[in-house]
Amino acid sequence: MYTLSGKLKITAIIFMILGAIGLVYAFATAPTSIEEVKEILAAQEHHGNHEMAAGEHSVAHHGDAAHDDEHAEHVLHQLQNKPWAALYVGAFFFFMIALGALAFYAIQYAAQAGWSPVLFRVMEAITAYLLPGSIIVFILLALSGVHLNHLFIWMDPDVVATDEIIQNKSSYLNVPFFLIRAAIYIIGWNVFRYFLRKNSLKQDEANDNSYYRKNFKLSAAFLVFFIVTESMMSWDWIMSLDPHWFSTLFGWYVFSSLFVSAITVIALVTIYLKSRGYLPYVNDSHIHDLGKFMFGISIFWTYLWFSQFMLIWYSNIPEEVVYYVTRIEKYNLVFFGMVAINFLFPLLVLMNSEYKRINWFIVMTGIMILVGHYLDIYTMVMPATVGESWFIGVPEISAVLFFGGLFTFVVFNALTKAPLLAKRNPFIKESEHFHY
């Protein structure tokens, strides 16, 4: 049995408190009126780095004063969105790790993998964050639905009234249906997670393999449910932030991002537990396999990123290409930097077979992959919500600290609830002697 060390608990709680304080500060200091924004803009102009908002914002001039007012109002909305968007990115990022871990777990069951059963309890513990994580995301979506923020512009009746494109999508993009869909996904995932975990624990005490067989069937059913709901979730929760834009492979793209983050977290938690002596039967071949998955899925992510980017860049259709125009013009460094982190780092470090057995290589690459995929979610959400007013400052870091602390606390608390070795799994012997 794993016992939660006091140090880890304190660290997680400190992270949560620091993050919560930072978030309160971020919400408290967000500008509330156009006058405040004008002061901020004047200060920026003074520094000489002010750029006029380009693109969709450049509407007809009604004289300079009116235009300034309009611009200030635009910036006001962006700055008011900033703490909300930071919170949303943080909440989604850690939630998607738990969801990805559940998908990976189900794949291991459905594929009858012989190497991974010794890691099942680690994966189950990571999926324990699914329930709190998905509820937090749902609450944030519901708060958007009651107009506490402007994250989703299609939720604003004033915007929809003058926007024919959104009007035509309103049979799908309307708040009640949106929240019902979200509830269906969240309930579905959590129900599957609850029964998979329950059967896995019951299998420990069973005399036959009936619970294993149940989990096999549940996993197969979950994977079908997951790929449909995950795809729709990515349209709803991320793509609809830009309701004028659409991409057909977006669901897969989000999937690859959450999948590789989840595998990385599984590897990091495994290495941590092993270094504390809790996983004696995990050898460097297990780490090697996780390293291969991190490597392969990172490249899969890059493939999807590039496929989406290159198809839109090549055909250059105005209605599609604005998505990348805003990202390249306003988010250049972070947008291309995250591709470099997510592709070059795993490619060069994890290509060598020997390096995949060295723990600190996996840890180092894993941290880079997690940073890269945080930035990936960041560049999906921020351009649509805060536009050119982005910055990685107090709100963003606080949200990561808060959810990181909560994630650590929930995951390691879940690890104490069951023995770390799934006893009667039919593949557990093979897994203990797994050697590559």
Binding site: F306, F309, M310, W313, Y314, N316, M351, S353
Partner: protein, 174 residues
């Protein structure tokens, strides 16, 4: 006497593995082992060094990537920068996404083909090459270990290989 060898023939890969370990422990020099299929862990038991084929493949891949970049930079950007469908041909970077499929394919092409050719050269395989198997049965179901006699007692060696479970022990003078 230097080229005198003993051929010990086995019927099972598990017995062969044990025999290889015993032979190494006895410090007899194993010249070669012939098997009808890959025996997992045999290279480790024989103490063979790790292959460096993967490293050559990586380097060949870099060559392929370089060829692709130099080729397309010269053709599309330097030699005749035409306006083809409005694609920006002012610099390599501006038109990079259009080149990446070719860069990828040439990297894979060079890495794969040159590695295979390296493998053929290093393991001396080519058409019309004379087959080297000392006993035709080793391609079907028997395992053969070739050990140099050197200065060891032949009688003692023969007895040793009999004890390791060999089906046949043959003395080869060449």
């Amino acid at each position: 006497m230097a080229s005198t060898k003993i051929h010990a023939i086995y019927t099972d890969d598990d017995i062969l593995m044990q025999a290889v370990k015993d032979t190494r422990a006895k410090h007899y020099h194993i010249e070669e082992v012939f098997t009808p299929f890959p025996v997992h862990g045999l290279d480790k038991a024989m103490g063979l060094p790790h292959t460096r084929l993967a490293v050559t493949s990586f380097l060949y891949g870099l060559v392929g990537l370089t060829v692709a970049i130099l080729m397309m930079n010269f053709i599309m950007i330097e030699d005749w920068p035409q306006n083809i469908g409005g694609k920006p041909s002012f610099s390599f970077l501006e038109n990079l996404p259009a080149f990446i499929p070719i860069m990828f394919e040439l990297t894979v092409f060079f890495a794969a083909h040159l590695m295979v050719i390296t493998f053929y050269l290093r393991s001396r395989l080519w058409p019309f090459k004379k087959a080297e198997n000392p006993d035709v049965r080793t391609t079907d179901d028997l395992f053969l270990m070739e050990v140099l006699v050197e200065n060891n007692n032949i009688e003692e060696m023969a007895q040793f290989f009999k004890n390791t479970g060999a089906l046949e022990v043959n003395l080869i003078n060449k």
